[in-house]
């Protein structure tokens, strides 16, 4: 099985996310289906890694395994030095809340809460940010993503792009070292898509490990690394930054 390990630059940091021998099998009406097959992958720290591939190639499955939303059938998933695949539900929830910011394709904002309250909610769950600092922090995050003026509105009053920005702000609520986004631009127009991807690039530049599953064709503008999946296998891993440096 082809496996690829990204050759790191000299003095690069240890990978924040590591998959070894990961297989994910689903039982369907037509028999078992392997969404991922014996995947080995290292995701560089403090870089934006794009996961690309056709529909059904296993991109979302890989993202779900990294965040602990799903568990592998075989293999290990290690993030920030912890075996994510063996954590219990409670520990996984706490670990995820503190260490991983998740951004969904369909935003998944809670409709009964205002935008700022949606951003405060993960802080309540993690319990790390003092109560008095939560709201100011949430407002600051919303300003950072460009929708500070929408803070008091309900999600249904925002456009798709604004909702996705709110979801990104929510993902940053507990200042996680890892951000995982599954098709974050899947429901957005091109203008908003570009803006959202630029946000992710900025997060990586800030020192976070960002993993983005995307259908976007031109990933080179924002990604540092690109992992291509084909039929549940890692077919290619490209380090764009190295290429860019070589070209420069």
């Amino acid at each position: 099985m082809p496996t690829h390990t990204v050759r790191s630059e000299p003095n690069a940091a240890e990978p924040h996310i590591r998959l070894r021998g990961v297989t994910k099998r689903y039982d369907t009406g037509r028999g078992p289906f392997d969404a991922l097959r014996d995947v080995d992958l290292d995701v560089r720290a403090r870089a934006l890694t794009a996961i690309v591939g056709r529909s059904g190639s296993g991109k979302s499955t890989l993202a779900n395994l990294v965040t602990g939303i799903d568990r592998p059938t075989k293999g290990e998933v290690v993030a920030l030095g912890r075996r994510v695949d063996t954590l219990g539900q409670r520990d996984l929830a706490l670990w995820r809340g503190r260490n991983v910011g998740v951004v969904f394709q369909f935003f998944q904002l809670l409709p009964a809460l205002t935008i700022v309250e949606n951003v405060v909610l993960p802080m309540e769950f993690a319990g790390r940010v003092p109560v008095r600092e939560r709201r100011p922090r949430a407002l600051a995050l919303l300003e950072r993503v460009g929708i500070g003026a929408q803070a008091q509105k309900l999600p249904s009053a925002l456009s798709g792009g604004e909702q996705q920005r709110a979801a990104i702000a929510r993902a940053l609520a507990n200042d996680p070292p890892i951000v995982v986004a599954d098709e974050p631009t899947g429901n957005l127009d091109s203008h908003n898509s570009g803006a959202v991807l630029e946000l992710f690039a900025a997060l990586a530049a800030d020192g976070r490990t960002v993993l983005v599953v995307t259908h976007e064709r031109d990933v080179s503008r924002f990604a540092d690394d690109v992992v291509t999946l084909v039929d549940g296998l890692v077919s290619e891993v490209r380090t764009l930054r190295a290429e860019a440096a070589n070209r420069g």
């Binding site: 939303i69 809670l110 769950f125």
Partner: protein, 804 residues
Amino acid sequence: MGDVAWRKVWRDLALARGRAVLLVLALALSLAAGGTVASTYGVLAREMPRSFLASRPASATLVLEHALAPELLREVRARPDLAAVERRALVRGRLEVAPDRKLPLALFVIEDFAAMDVETVAHEDGAWPPPDGTLLVDRSSLAFLRTELGARFPVSLREAKSRELAISGVVVDTGVAPAWQEQAVYGYVTPATLAALGSAAELDLVKLRVREDALDAEHIEAVAKDVSAWLAARGVPPLEIRVPAPGRHPHQSLMNALVLVLLLFSALALVLSAVLVATLVSGLLARHARQIGAMKAIGATPARIALLYASFAVVLGGAAALVALGPSVWGARRLAALYADLSNVVLADAAVPWWAWAGTALAGVLAPLLAALPPVFAASRATVHEALSELGMYRGPRGAAPSTSGARAAAFVGPTLVLAWRHVLRRRRRLALSVLLLATGGAVFLTGIDVAAATDRKLARGGALPEYDLELALGEPQPTEALLERVRALPSVAYVEPVVSAAVFPVRPGEAPVSHVHKDGGHGALRLFAIPPDSRFAPTVLAGRALAAGDVEAIALAPSEVERLGASIGADLALQLGGRATTWRVVGVVAGIGLGGNTGLWITDAGYARATDTAGKSSGLRVIAKEHGRAGEKAARREIEDAFARAGIGIASISGASWWEAVLRSHVAIVRGALELLGIVLGAVGALTLAAATTTGVVERTREFGVLQALGATPARVVWVVVAEALLVGLVSWPFAAALGAALSAWVGAMVGPIVFGTPLPLVLSVPALAAWLGVTVCASCAAGALPAFVASRLTIREALAHV
């Protein structure tokens, strides 16, 4: 839980406010019903004994042959173990309310009204004490007679002549059952009034009230026996010692059974109403599946999720408890007052005990929480992946495609009904809850009607009512043959035979005879019937043999008497009869009739005559009228009274089948009314549940309705899909209501029947009631589905498809 999480709870409730209001109302209704019954029980459990004891009931009564001499009375009063001693008399007669209607009258003769200190009555209105030549009546008797102060009624005692007495005052006597239940009148007179009525009766009862341990039956019996022995040593041996169950109202057991039945049903209502809230929470959880996934993805632990959604149950339950508390306290006061009137009890304090309303409030909060915990735990344990995969649309059945016959059936009924039916089966737990609630409401309602129908059948088929139309007790024994001849000659009489009915009590050799007769001389009494061996009204033999010609020492007992007396076939039984100690051989166990239990002892008329030296004489008759029913009974009664009046034969009492029926029905009426009312309440709860469940289902499938409309479904068809779903749930619940109702009816009949009729009520399933409940279910189900259906049909396709 943090501030934002709490806001989510409140806002989610606000978004679902329509459904939440429905469920809070349904829950509050159940809580109010249950709280009312529980609070009523709390009031009555406290006040019934208190009211009864406030009348200073006699601990024991000694029955003498003559009035106790004043000097002996003084000496008995001086005993340190007695708080009060008084002479009384209880004389039975009849009070004429109409030319053709005379009611049994129990006259309590009181020596000194002003100095009453045992078996007291409270003055309520009019004169106190009653002037000579008048009588006081118990307030329930005044209501029963539908008359007022000053009214005059002819009163006749054992002697033939009747005299008019005016009602000069009203009293409250909490020591007797209400007049309407006993179909009798209670009067209170002075000894002078008794004499003026032509009675030779004396103050032959000595009422004793012990100073200490007033609720200790053994102590009371010991004191009474000691006094009896003391009197016997002075040449005044008591004929009988009466020691009723201390502190116990004569109708305590009936009231206890009724309250127990209502308490059980109210507990059932509380449990089911808690399930209501679980229904909403389940629906909410299904609808919020993706939100739950998102929260878990951003760090919410299963415990947080559980706490968040369990809070819905607590909030709804708390709101319902707040709404229900006021009505339940108000309802309890009204219901307790009603019971008090029905039982002739005085409520000194109608305040609901704190534990009743606290329990109601706690149940309102805890029960929904406990019921909601399973779905909450299940949802909190779902993985993020599972939760986020929930699309909010029905995915379709898993497994094999429908069979050929199923496909044909589906083609026959059409896609709309198929869709409705599959949606009904989609959420099986919710379906089960809705069906259970509707079925329970129907079952209780049906039980109330079935109990009434069972009563009717019991009365119609016999075994509960005597087979004769009239039973007479004469003032004095009369020559039997002349008596029979006189009655046989009457045109309205088809058959007559002699009978004697006497109160007896067991005796042990060397001991004074002790009975457990109540103040009214009826409750707790052992009743003996002396009949001819070839009597047409002989009881049915259950074991051993029947009485035969020549039996002068044989006795047959009803099963309850066998148990009460500890007797067995072949054993001897010593009884005090007519002032004499007699011994009988038990030859059989027979089916008795009568109110208050499977009662009665039977001997032959020859045996009675031998024991009491009354050969050739009878003091009672049983008559079958030529025409059955009230008219025939009335005609026969009139003719007999006229004939006996002409002959100077005094009638102590006449009771007819219609009177017995009225007494029995009055005892059952309370149970029946309570069950029907509770059934209506539970039925309303069930309908509200279905409305809430249907509304929840509509909200869950909003996008689906958008798809239906996009495919060409008219608003009317959308309405029909929803209404059909509610209707199908209602129809599914009906057979369960019928089955559960049958089981409940059997249980209630087994509980109430023995107390009222001596045997369980037969199981009667009222077909009109079943049909009526089917109609109610159909209407309620359509109504329950109508509003959510209307809402679903008004959504635009765009709104519906955009719904998340």
